[in-house]
């Protein structure tokens, strides 16, 4: 019964605002929190900037070298160290392919185990634990440890990337499985399907587009990461790049960087096409 209310009761909030000048609503609504954030942020900034020592003379000296490097991009040298570049690139690509395949193959069962609507609680806990460990450790640190254990070479890089792929892919795939449509899976189960058939016909078709998209994205990431694993001796183009920097051969370094950018762009383009097709 709206008639029982005084006619202007619902407009009270509006009446309060009427006549006052409009002001932009702030991002953080609570005033004390807003001011605390601003003051705290400013204090931190002052402290942080004061503690960063910059040797401006050194920076100024380096500008020539910086200019030389930028100029090197206009005439990259693919030829002088062609063999080293080719070997490094091939090793990076080989590591990327092998680790993506192995990583994806391992992460599918782990993703199934980490989806709460499929796996029982103990399996779920174990699989989530594996994912958490893999995500918390960074590639480069894992690579250092694996190089110490397995020796220099692409095997350490391959294992590192496979390990990192598991954490990334299992987590995202498990989330997709958890948010799938239950009625479809139930319908398949109602036909009397076995567990394997249930996964194959009830779950798989729902998550396969996402799996393909994520896999290709991960291939892209693995290639980018494989470019730095060489810095710690785990194989790939990174070692060649590091050597080029150490020798101040900026034209060779520019060539390698350009190759990396081109390959990453190509991978991104391909992954865009594939993802558009499967979704």
């Amino acid at each position: 019964m709206t008639a029982a209310l005084p006619p202007d009761a619902t407009h009270r909030e509006l009446d309060d605002i009427l006549g006052t000048r409009w002001r932009r609503p702030p991002l953080v609504r609570r005033a004390w929190l807003r001011w605390a954030l601003i003051v705290g942020g400013l204090l931190y900034l002052v402290a942080a900037i004061a503690s960063v020592e910059v040797n401006w003379a050194r920076v100024y000296e380096g500008l020539d070298r910086g200019a030389a490097f930028v100029m090197a991009f206009t005439r990259p040298d693919f030829v002088t160290r062609a063999d080293a570049i080719w070997d490094g690139m091939l090793e990076s690509i080989v590591m990327t392919v092998a680790s993506s395949v192995v990583g994806i193959a391992i992460s599918i069962p782990i993703a199934l185990g980490a989806a709460r609507n499929i796996a029982p609680l103990p399996v779920y806990m174990v699989c989530r634990g594996i994912i958490a460990v893999s995500r918390a450790l960074q590639e480069i640190i894992v690579a250092i440890l694996l190089v110490a254990i397995f020796g220099f070479g692409p095997l350490a890089g391959f294992l590192t990337l496979s390990f990192a792929t598991i954490g990334f892919l299992s987590k995202l795939l498990a989330e997709d499985i958890e948010s799938m449509d239950r009625s479809q899976a139930e319908a398949v189960r109602a036909t009397g399907a076995r567990w394997g058939q249930w996964i194959d016909y009830g779950v798989k078709p729902q998550v396969i587009p996402r799996l393909i998209g994520l896999s290709i994205y991960r291939v892209d990431i693995n290639f980018r990461e494989s470019a730095i694993l060489g810095l710690v001796g785990a194989g790939g183009i990174g070692a060649t790049l590091n050597t080029a920097f150490d020798r101040y051969e900026y034209d060779t370094a520019a060539a390698i960087l350009l190759l990396i950018i081109v390959i990453v762009m190509a991978l991104e383009y391909v992954s865009g096409i594939v993802r558009a097709r499967v979704q």
Binding site: R24, L27, Y44, L45, A48, I49, S51, V52, E53, V54, N55, R58, V59, G62, L63, R65, G66, F69, L90, E91, V94, M95, V97, A98, V101, A136, L137, Q138, I140, I141, I144, L145, A148, I149, F150, G151, G153, P154, L155, F158, R224, E225, A227, I228, L231, V232, G235, G238, L241, N242, F245, Y248, A253, L257, I260, I261, V264, M265, E268
Partner: protein
């Protein structure tokens, strides 16, 4: 519908013969490529070391435990440096990423033909090169230290932030912009009152998300000499001081988990 003719009548099949053969061939080629890659990795590996790996791993683990807790006193300054590299780097990146994002978004770019490709090129080039490589490069140019780390993080983050931000700008609600334009607002006023309020939550989310990633990355920048806790890690690794290494790794792990928690909390509050 593909069927298989049997003695008892037709049976449903998922794919017809042609499709099945194509799929089989694709899998075969894929498997061959993988095997070739594996053969190359295997050729480049000294298998003697690999068979020896369990005992080496056990040996390292034995040396690394227990961590040398007293070493933490040497780590406070590097931890502060690492935090600064990540935070100042993120701030610098955001300052540079905002204009790039507005130039790259289809609905705000001044020229889709000339300016947008340049902005997209900046995004791709900065994104596809890892921060460690940027650090390597900047150390060669401006010398080792925290400043090189900040710059490396900043440059690397431009592409990431600008890409996510320009996608957010492209997805804004056009009617609000139109409403502001209809009041006779200038181009900059439309920007400030029509577009910016709509992308502000996305912007804050991106900033915190990237800060979280940058904490992760700044912990290892020291490996190439760009300051932070990675320097200590490198020094400890070089002297084979495994108890220190394990302590540093624990600190890094804690930092990563903490930053992820903070970022999740803040993003939860914004969205």
């Amino acid at each position: 519908m593909p069927v298989l003719e049997t003695a008892n009548g037709p049976v449903w099949r998922r794919r017809n013969r042609r499709e099945a053969l194509t799929r089989w061939a694709t899998w075969l080629v894929g498997a061959l490529i993988f095997l070739w890659c594996w053969a190359r990795i295997s050729d480049a590996t000294t298998w003697f070391f690999v068979w020896d790996a369990p005992s080496i791993a056990g040996d390292i683990l034995g040396r690394a435990t227990p961590p040398r807790w007293s070493y933490i006193d040497n780590l406070w300054v590097p931890i502060w440096d690492t935090l600064n590299i990540a935070t100042l780097g993120t701030l610098a990146a955001l300052v540079m990423a905002v204009p790039v994002a507005f130039l790259a978004a289809r609905n705000t770019t001044p020229s889709a033909l000339f300016v947008r490709p340049v902005a997209l090129l900046i995004i791709v080039a900065t994104r596809s090169i890892n921060s460690l490589i940027w650090a390597l490069l900047l150390i060669a140019i401006i010398g080792p230290g925290v400043f090189a780390g900040i710059m490396a993080i900043a440059i690397r983050s431009i592409g990431f932030c600008a890409k996510l931000l320009y996608e957010a700008i492209e997805e804004i609600d056009g009617t609000q912009v139109e409403a502001i334009t209809a009041t006779g607002a200038s181009r900059w006023q439309v920007m400030a009152y029509g577009i910016v309020p709509q992308v502000m939550p996305a912007f804050a989310g991106i900033a915190v998300f990237r800060w979280d990633i940058n904490i992760r990355e700044s912990t290892v920048l020291g490996l190439v000499g760009a300051g932070g806790i990675g320097l200590q890690l490198q020094a400890s690794l070089n002297t084979l001081a495994w108890p220190q290494v394990s302590l540093i790794l624990l600190v890094i792990l804690l930092a990563v988990v903490l930053s992820e928690w903070v970022s999740a909390k803040v993003r939860g509050a914004i969205i």
